[in-house]
C-alpha cells in the first residue's frame, strides 16, 4: 500500500465503515457547536462593552454591538483607581510568580533526585497538603499574626507552592537523562552548577508552562486580596471588578436599576481585565500543551 499517507494514523489504512463516516460528520458538527457555545459568552461580553446602555437594558445586544460607543471605555480608563488596581495586579503577579517559580523548581528538583535520602518524606509532606488543610479561619489568623494584612506579602507568599505544579515539574525532572548530569558532575560541576547550567536551560518548556500557570492564577486571583487587603489603593483589578459586580447585582442593589445601569461598565471592565490573557493566549498555548505533556507522559 504505497499510497497511505504517512501523516495519518494507520487506522485510515483500512476503509472506514459507513457508520464511522456518519459519526465523523456528527462529531465535527458537535465539536463546532461546543466551540460556538464556549465562545458566545465572550462575544456577548465584547458586544455589550461597545453598546449603549439603552440597547442593553432593552435586551437587544447579542453578538453585535448596538448603539456603538466607546465612552464607557474612556470613562473606566480615566478612573484613577482602575489604573492603580491594574498596576497592583501586574506587580502582584510578577512578584508572586517569581517567588513561586523559585520555590517550586528547587523543591521539585530536589525531590526528583532518587539518591536524596528522605525523599519519600519530603514528597509526602507536600502531597498531604492536597488532602488536608488548615481551613479558612486558621489561615486568616496566621496571616494576621504574621503582620501580612494590608501588605503585598499576604498575596504573594501564602500560595507560593501549588502541589499540582510541583508534581508536574517533579515528574519532568525525573525523566531527565541521568547520564547528562553524571557527565557534568565528572567534569567538576557541583549540584548547583548542574542545576543552573544544565537542568534549567534544558527545562525551558516546562518552566514556561509553570510561569504561565502561576502567572495566570495570580493574575486571576481575588479572594486573598479581598480577605487581607482593606484599602482600595491596594486592591488588584479583580477586586475592583468584584466590587462593581457586588454593587450592581449583590445584596445591595438586587433587582433595582443599579443592575441595569452598570451592565455596560461591568462589561468594559471585564474586557479590560481579560485583555492581557486573551492577547498572550495564542502565543503561550502551544507551550503549556507540550509542557503538561512533558510533565505527565512517562517516556
Amino acid at each position: 500500500m504505497p499510497d497511505v499517507s504517512a501523516v495519518r494514523r494507520s487506522t485510515t489504512a483500512i476503509k472506514d465503515t459507513r457508520g464511522y463516516r456518519a459519526f465523523s460528520v456528527v462529531n465535527v458538527v458537535v465539536l463546532t457547536l461546543i466551540c460556538a457555545l464556549t465562545l458566545y459568552p465572550f462575544i456577548n461580553l465584547v458586544a455589550k462593552a461597545f453598546s449603549s446602555e439603552g440597547f442593553i437594558i432593552a435586551g437587544q445586544v447579542n453578538l453585535i454591538p448596538r448603539g456603538f460607543n466607546i465612552t464607557t471605555f474612556t470613562a473606566v480608563l480615566s478612573d484613577d483607581m482602575f489604573w492603580i488596581n491594574y498596576k497592583n495586579t501586574v506587580i502582584y503577579t510578577v512578584v508572586a510568580t517569581a517567588i513561586a517559580i523559585a520555590m517550586t523548581t528547587t523543591f521539585a528538583y530536589a525531590i526528583s533526585r532518587k539518591e536524596l535520602k528522605g525523599r519519600q518524606f519530603f514528597i509526602g509532606l507536600a502531597v498531604f497538603t492536597m488532602f488536608f488543610s488548615g481551613g479558612l479561619i486558621p489561615n486568616y489568623l496566621l496571616i494576621n499574626e504574621l503582620g501580612f494584612k494590608n501588605t503585598i506579602w499576604a498575596i504573594v507568599i501564602p500560595n507560593a507552592i501549588s502541589v499540582f505544579n510541583l508534581l508536574i515539574m517533579k515528574s519532568f525532572f525525573e525523566n531527565f537523562p541521568t547520564e547528562l548530569e553524571e557527565a557534568a558532575a565528572i567534569d567538576g560541576l557541583s549540584t548547583y552548577g548542574v542545576f543552573f547550567r544544565i537542568v534549567i536551560p534544558l527545562s525551558k518548556a516546562v518552566l514556561a508552562t509553570m510561569v504561565l500557570f502561576y502567572a495566570v492564577a495570580f493574575w486571576n486571583s481575588w479572594f486573598s486580596a479581598f480577605l487581607y487587603l482593606d484599602r482600595a489603593e491596594l486592591y488588584p483589578v479583580t477586586v475592583y471588578l468584584r466590587n462593581l459586580l457586588a454593587a450592581a447585582t449583590g445584596t445591595e442593589g438586587l433587582g433595582s436599576d443599579g443592575a441595569q445601569i452598570a451592565a455596560n461598565v461591568q462589561s468594559v471592565t471585564m474586557v479590560l481585565t481579560v485583555l492581557p490573557i486573551i492577547c498572550l493566549y495564542p502565543f503561550i498555548q502551544k507551550y503549556f500543551v507540550s509542557g503538561v505533556m512533558l510533565g505527565s507522559v512517562k517516556g
Partner: protein, 338 residues
C-alpha cells in the same frame, strides 16, 4: 504503597497518568544501582548531598508555616479564641463548638446544599472531559483539533470574578437567556432570585469553565497508547466503537482513577469562590454551602472558633472521602494515588 509486579502487562499503561500519580514503586534499575551501597546514614547523605538539601530549606519552611501551622491552628475549634489572644486559642472548651453546629439548623441546610452541589458536579461534570477527549481523539484534521482545544481551554484562564460576571449578565433580566425565552414567547425568569435555578446555573457554568481544560490530561494519556494495539484489534475485526471500549478507555483508566480520587477529595469544597460571588440572600436556601456559611460566620461575624469547628468537620470529611476512594480503587481497579 502497592508493590506491583514490574513484568505485569498493566504496569505499562498505568504509567500514563503520571502527572498527578503521586507515588509509584521505584523502577527496577535504581534498585540495582543502589544495591551495592546498602543503607546510607543521614550523616553520610547530608555530607554527600548537602547542596541538594539546601534546595529543600525554603520550600519546607514554607510548607510548615503556611500549610502545617494552620492545620495545628484547627485546635481553636476546641478552644475559646479571644480577639488579640493567641491564634491557637486561650482555654479548652471541649466539644462545645462541635455541639453548637450539630444543633444549628442552618448548618444542616448548608451541609445538604454542599452534598447536592458536590454530587451534581461529580456525576455531571466529571465524565464530560473524558467524552470530549474521546471525540477530539477521533478527529482527522489536526488543525480543527487544535482549534477546538484552543477554544475550549480558554474559559479555564478566566478569573472566577469574570466568570461570575458573565454568568450574572447572561442570566439577568435583559440577558441572552431571557432574550431567547422572550423570542419563543415564554415568560422571563429572574434566575438569580429563584432558588430552584441556582443548581442548574452553577453546574452549567462549571461545565463551561472546566470541561475543555479537563481534557488535557486525558489527551496526554491517549498519546501513550500503543498504535499496535489498535492494529491488532482491527485485524481481529473490532470496529471503532469496540476499539474505543477495549483499548482507549482502559488506556486512560489510570488517569481517570487518579482524577476521580482527587475530585472526590475536593467534593466538600464545592466552588467556594464561585458561590460567594454568585449567591445572594434570596437564594441562600439552595446556594449557601458550608464554606460560604463558614465565611459569613467566621470572617464577617468574627466567630472564629465556631467556624473553625465547621471547617475542621468539612476537611475531615474530605480527607475520609479521599482515603476511602483511594482504598476502594486500589482494591477494585488496581490503580490508586498511593
Amino acid at each position: 504503597m502497592t508493590i506491583r509486579d514490574p513484568l505485569a502487562p498493566e504496569s505499562a499503561p498505568s504509567e500514563a497518568g503520571g502527572a498527578v500519580a503521586v507515588e509509584k514503586p521505584p523502577p527496577a534499575r535504581t534498585g540495582a544501582r543502589r544495591a551495592g551501597g546498602g543503607k546510607v546514614t543521614w550523616r553520610q547523605a547530608l555530607r554527600k548531598d548537602w547542596r541538594l538539601y539546601t534546595f529543600l530549606v525554603l520550600p519546607v519552611v514554607f510548607l510548615i508555616i503556611f500549610r502545617y501551622v494552620p492545620m495545628l491552628g484547627n485546635v481553636i475549634a476546641f478552644r475559646r479564641f479571644r480577639p488579640g489572644g493567641s491564634m491557637f486559642g486561650d482555654e479548652w472548651v471541649g466539644l462545645y463548638y462541635i455541639e453548637m453546629f450539630i444543633n444549628d439548623p442552618t448548618f444542616w441546610r448548608v451541609f445538604t446544599n454542599t452534598l447536592i452541589l458536590g454530587a451534581l458536579t461529580l456525576i455531571i461534570v466529571f465524565p464530560l472531559p473524558v467524552v470530549l477527549a474521546l471525540l477530539l481523539n477521533e478527529l482527522r484534521s489536526r488543525k480543527f483539533k487544535r482549534f477546538v482545544q484552543t477554544v475550549t481551554y480558554l474559559p479555564h484562564f478566566m478569573s472566577i470574578v469574570i466568570v461570575a460576571g458573565i454568568v450574572l449578565q447572561l442570566t439577568s433580566l435583559n440577558g441572552t437567556i431571557n432574550q431567547i425565552l422572550g423570542a419563543i414567547g415564554a415568560e422571563q425568569i429572574s434566575f438569580m432570585q429563584e432558588p430552584s435555578w441556582f443548581r442548574p446555573i452553577y453546574v452549567s457554568s462549571e461545565i463551561w469553565q472546566t470541561v475543555g481544560w479537563g481534557t488535557i490530561l486525558y489527551l496526554a494519556a491517549l498519546t501513550t497508547i500503543d498504535d499496535q494495539l489498535y492494529e491488532a484489534a482491527r485485524i481481529d475485526g473490532a470496529n471503532r466503537w469496540r476499539q474505543t471500549w477495549h483499548i482507549t478507555l482502559p488506556g486512560i483508566r489510570p488517569t481517570m482513577v487518579v482524577l476521580l480520587i482527587l475530585n472526590i477529595g475536593t467534593f466538600m469544597a464545592v466552588g467556594f469562590e464561585k458561590v460567594l460571588l454568585l449567591y445572594n440572600p434570596l437564594i441562600f436556601s439552595t446556594a449557601d454551602v458550608i464554606s460560604t456559611y463558614l465565611y459569613r460566620v467566621g470572617i464577617q461575624s468574627g466567630s472564629y472558633s465556631y467556624s473553625t469547628a465547621i471547617g475542621l468537620f468539612e476537611a475531615l470529611i474530605g480527607l475520609t472521602l479521599v482515603m476511602s476512594a483511594n482504598a476502594i480503587s486500589r482494591r477494585v481497579v488496581g490503580s490508586s494515588l498511593w
